[in-house]
Symmetry: C2
Subunit: 494 residues, 2 copies
């Protein structure tokens, strides 16, 4: 894999000086076109061996282009806020918006490679992390991002020479740390791990570009031209090209008997007033205790509430929040995305609300919008919502690994019950704000929503985060059942 | 001050049970009206003595109203990210957007009071912090916020009884910490500090409401009614009422001789090519060294670039960034605010970019927009930009206290030079994107902008953050001068 990058690539200074101004002008031009169109973000990953010119190249990119529209992130040790969330969180919230260039220096590749070299991760864990990265990058590309992955390489001899050179000069000695020399001693192990890492993550949508780093002129011109070519190709492509990864085969299940989890649910379950109050009090007490459990300091809770209109999400959520201290939880009602959210991948507006350990977030509607309303209303392409299932499972897996307890509730009501509630809302003064024309429109699409819900549950009810389908025609029963399942889920996981 | 709150206020359970449902319904109604209109945010500060029912009240507010549109923040010890920024930063970024309710539990009052009680802050420092709070709240109100300040009080005896009661019951014992008893020992000192704190920060626009906390029913109904009354009053008020704090007298300076810092600047200064390159290299080297200075780990740099169109902000910024490692700085170009930014106080879109220690942020246009373009184009009221000077000075003072080195540059060009550059831009192909009709329109308002600039410099060039007016007709001179002043400013402060 690194053969070509050890042959001693060189470029004459004079040739570089001739080419640089042209490259620079061209880069600046494409950068402004990117900005003006603001159709997609550019994510540049900078990785490779120490001393191979990563920092210099990033600085050159900032010099050649307009640094006002480039955001460079360096990822070192995690801070408090990062350690209390999933590992990928700090990358999620550092992605550039459409029209901008983000340079991730020490990207999501650094830690998996390092942990493997140090022997902290076994081969299985390493493979799993690479596979996760592949999924993540595929998702970013499908969401429209242009990803340019640059790997700066040096042969063992070249790295030694380079580190020595830097150490000897007063001006550059600070750039070589003890850490660098420590890494150098493990050069062979490092390359042995990087080779499969690059191979397995060099995909059609986001291939690696390996650049030999020993010669400044060669390295810089190569990196610059790679960036220019990637940007030009993408700017020329038809608007939808990047996301037009071939639509996967429809993975929805054929239901020859028309039976699904919703229409086979038992909606007759009920709870009388007295049992309701007793059970509610008991369960709220249990939930309260659980949220103050010692282990909760290293865990978080993420609740998802979905359901047809008028299924009682709001009032059920209030029965849950009432059991918790207001300092412990946040409720995030999901409405139309803000313009900052529209400039990011679909999941970004949920990433930003991921709670730290010791806290809970309740999503009133959620990332499942992708496979529900967006699917039914055709707000996204078929390919978009179909890849959604896998992306969502992956997301929830990462939440769980980051210490979150994920509890998902589908509040199910029958069509008849919905009609009854709509009519009530129309007549009760203080409930009128809750019923809109859109609710009536959505109701007409019941069969399409029902299909989407059934598919959603089949695809995303996993060991990590099961769906709880709660029959909700009877509100007391639904509230108690929700609390019961929630308490069980938390108890199991603590 | 606390007399009324020590007389043993009580309410019968039966009366509370009669009133609660009405209050609840009314609160829910106003909350939805608040949300629907989304004209202003509601900030509820919850402070007071331990055991006086602060937590219970916050939980009740969340129970009475729809918790999906309430955001409760509890502020304990600072985390890494907070410690590396100005003290107020964590409050700045936790304010609710328009239409929402934010409950700040342990607000900006907690630390000043605590530090004074513990004797860490002297009387002068304490006064200064109170005065800063007054300014901050005044600004929030002027920006449209409704602030409700609730202080929960208990007499010394009542506090003792309360802490004992809580400690004795199994169910509530966890709520009383050692810290609480430690605080109790200092009850008298605490009250002695709180009294002046409340007195001096109880202003017309944001008065304190003191509530006796010993009786659940009395406390809860009082707090709820205070919130209801505040919300109803504000929702009934005409749209502009809240911000119509009487327009202060125009504080702009009368210039009888028409001379100002711009038209008296010497625009003839020049630098030849050779000296330029030599000095530029030297200064960039110095700047680079400074950014890697040991002391920089506890400091940050905030640069502000302002200037008439075509004054050369972009190209000057590039000479500055070139001297720094891309991992050290971010450039923030200020354009039209996003919808999330529009739902917050004016300064919010700058607050969110305040860098942590060890980093620099370069603002390409800045918070000075308030007293420049917003003033001239009448995007805000006269009162708004006039209060802007003081708010900006206050903001920069807090940045400086938080460890930031603030360096501000006005790149000054003559009208004739601007015309020349506009014409050039129109003819040079790769510069055409830089000239728009708006630039020509702005040019016609030169006198109004000049007046605004002169006023701005007079009001906001302070010991903490001086303005550097850089004659920029000659670009090489301007770049070198900017770097020179920047290097000087940083050297002085390290």
């Amino acid at each position: 894999m690194f053969e070509s990058a050890e042959i001693g690539h060189k470029l004459k200074k004079s040739e570089f000086q001739k080419e640089e101004p042209k490259l620079r002008q061209a880069l600046l031009n494409v950068q402004y076109r990117l900005l003006e169109k603001s159709k997609f973000p550019v994510i540049i990953l900078v990785n490779g061996v120490d001393g191979a010119g990563k920092g210099e190249t990033v600085n050159l990119f900032n010099e050649w282009m307009d640094p006002r529209h480039i955001h460079t992130h360096a990822f070192g040790a995690s801070n408090d806020a990062e350690r209390a969330r999933p590992e990928m969180w700090r990358f999620w919230i550092s992605l550039p918006p459409k029209g901008r260039i983000g340079i991730l220096f020490g990207s999501w590749y650094t830690d998996p490679i390092l942990q493997r070299v140090m022997g902290n991760d076994g081969s299985g864990e390493f493979q799993q992390r690479l596979s996760r990265i592949r999924d993540f990058e595929r998702m970013l590309v499908a969401e429209g991002a242009l990803i340019l992955k640059l790997w700066f390489h040096l042969s063992k001899d070249a790295q030694k020479t380079r580190l020595k050179q830097l150490s000897e000069k007063k001006k550059t000695a600070w750039r070589v740390t003890k850490e660098d020399w420590k890494h150098f001693k493990r050069y062979d192990e490092f390359v042995d791990v990087c080779e499969p890492a690059l191979r397995e993550t060099s995909t059609g949508e986001a291939p690696w570009n390996i650049i030999e780093g020993s010669n400044h002129e060669y390295r810089s011109l190569t990196a610059g031209r790679l960036l220019l070519a990637a940007l030009e190709r993408r700017l020329k492509a038809p608007a939808k090209a990047a996301t037009a990864t071939k639509a996967p085969p429809k993975s929805v299940i054929v239901r020859v008997d028309k039976r699904d989890v919703l229409n086979t649910a038992d909606y007759s379950v009920k709870l009388d007033r007295d049992s309701y109050q007793k059970q509610l009090d008991k369960l709220q007490g249990q939930l309260n205790l659980l949220t103050r459990h010692k282990k909760m300091r290293e865990r978080s809770i993420i609740m998802v509430f979905e359901g047809m209109d008028a299924a009682g999400k709001g009032s059920t959520i209030r029965r849950v929040t009432r059991a918790m201290d207001a300092r412990f939880y946040h409720v995030v009602p999901i409405a139309a995305p803000s313009d900052e959210e529209r400039a990011q991948p679909y999941l970004w507006r949920f990433w930003r609300h991921v709670p730290p350990h010791g806290h809970a977030v309740i999503f009133d509607r959620s990332w499942y919008g992708r496979v529900l309303v967006e699917r039914v209303e055709k707000f996204c392409t078929d390919a978009d919502w179909q890849r959604g299932y896998h992306e969502i499972n992956e997301f929830e897996e990462q939440l769980a690994e980051g210490g979150a307890i994920v509890a998902k509730f589908w509040l199910a009501i029958s069509q008849a019950e919905q009609l009854k509630r709509f009519k009530e809302r129309g007549t009760i003064a203080h409930k009128q704000f809750k019923i809109t024309d859109e609710d009536w429109r959505n109701r007409k699409k019941w069969p399409a929503y029902e299909l989407a819900v059934a598919d959603m549950i089949d695809h995303t009810s996993t060991d990590i985060a099961q769906w709880n389908v709660i029959a909700s025609n009877d509100k007391p029963w639904a509230r108690v059942e929700t609390l019961k399942r929630l308490v069980e889920t938390i108890e199991q996981q603590l």
